[in-house]
Amino acid sequence: MSIQVKFEKDMAILCLEGNFDETSSRSVEEKMMECLSKDVKNIRFDMSKVKYVSSAGIRVLIIAYKKALKTGKKISLAAMSPKVEETIRTVGILPMFV
């Protein structure tokens, strides 16, 4: 999976491309922690090029939500494909990211 981080005003955008699974979740978690330590208010996961989210990816999203709550930041998920959105909705964590 390729991960690119962009900063726009008070927002960090993580652009993910590929499968958000066991192999990529660790790098996404590291990038997400980096973003949380920066002086931004919002962190957005650009999911437009994510084909699949596994349980390892869901775990990172829950951790991201918890960490963001502590640091007073807001996390959002953008441009999810219907399949990815369905997975996240089924796990019941979609309301955390709206």
Binding site: S55, A56, I62, K70, T71, G72
Partner: protein
Amino acid sequence: MMNMPTPEMYMKRATLASLYINIVLVLIKMSALVFVNSLAIAIDLGISFAGLMVSFILYYSIRLASRPADMAHNYGYGKVEHVCEALEGIVLIGIAVAMSLQSFVKLLHPDEVKLPLVGMLVSMSCSGLNFAGAYYIFKMSVKSGSPAIKAEALHWRMEGFISASISAAFIVSMELTYLSFSDLAHYVDPLAALVVSVLIVFPSFKLAKEAFFKLLDSSVEEESQMEILRHLGRHIHSYCEFGNIRTRVAGRKKFVEISVIMPHDMSLRQSHRMLLRLKNDLERAVENSDVTIHMVPCGKDCDFSARGEMCPYMRLPDSLF
């Protein structure tokens, strides 16, 4: 009032069916081999004989796997099911390798197959028995959730295809003899045996490999992992953080271990009550699971403490969702 069948009862039914049908198959194939000097039938007999041995082992393994945990085996005997799966894979690979070598020898010195019609009829009826057995055992594997029984059902289906292809080879051989190509017909039997041997190597290798990985404490399947996270999400406002999630499979049993950080100032009683709710939810959601939650107190080194704010998780709402 009638007792509902337990998973153990379904497993016992499957192993007994496997045992009895295998005895019938071995007897039929042994009798056929006396009249039909076919290498393909010899391989088929070898496979059924291995199947019979595995059925015996499976029968005793299932009884062992159903034993509750004791002082010597604190996590139970579930892993014996994976040992059985691995054994089945190894035995089948062994037969395939031995028979491939025999097929090469026969290809160099081909023999005439006697009574091919008998061979065809025997293989066809064995194939039917195999498919019927596979159907029944697979139904029992779904009801019991046992990986070893599922592997047995796959083995039976594979045997069904093998017998069916051997009976097709007899038809081809008879057809070639009828068309006056009897020299060519002599090669059909060792060729069929070789193809069957190669075909059984791949699923057997996969079966053995998967069983070995399960013996190395493989994690629970994706569906159960999602269930664990769904419940951690549902209880998200009841704990500070979660750390390691470790899972492993032992036969039908799934073991889940999670470290959960609880607010520093929450009483042990409250924390325990909270985590017991999470544990019970997880055990209901993940079938045949045994969940252990390690409670870790917050070290007051979080951002809320740094900002001098009260820990929001002290308020203890059950869940937002």
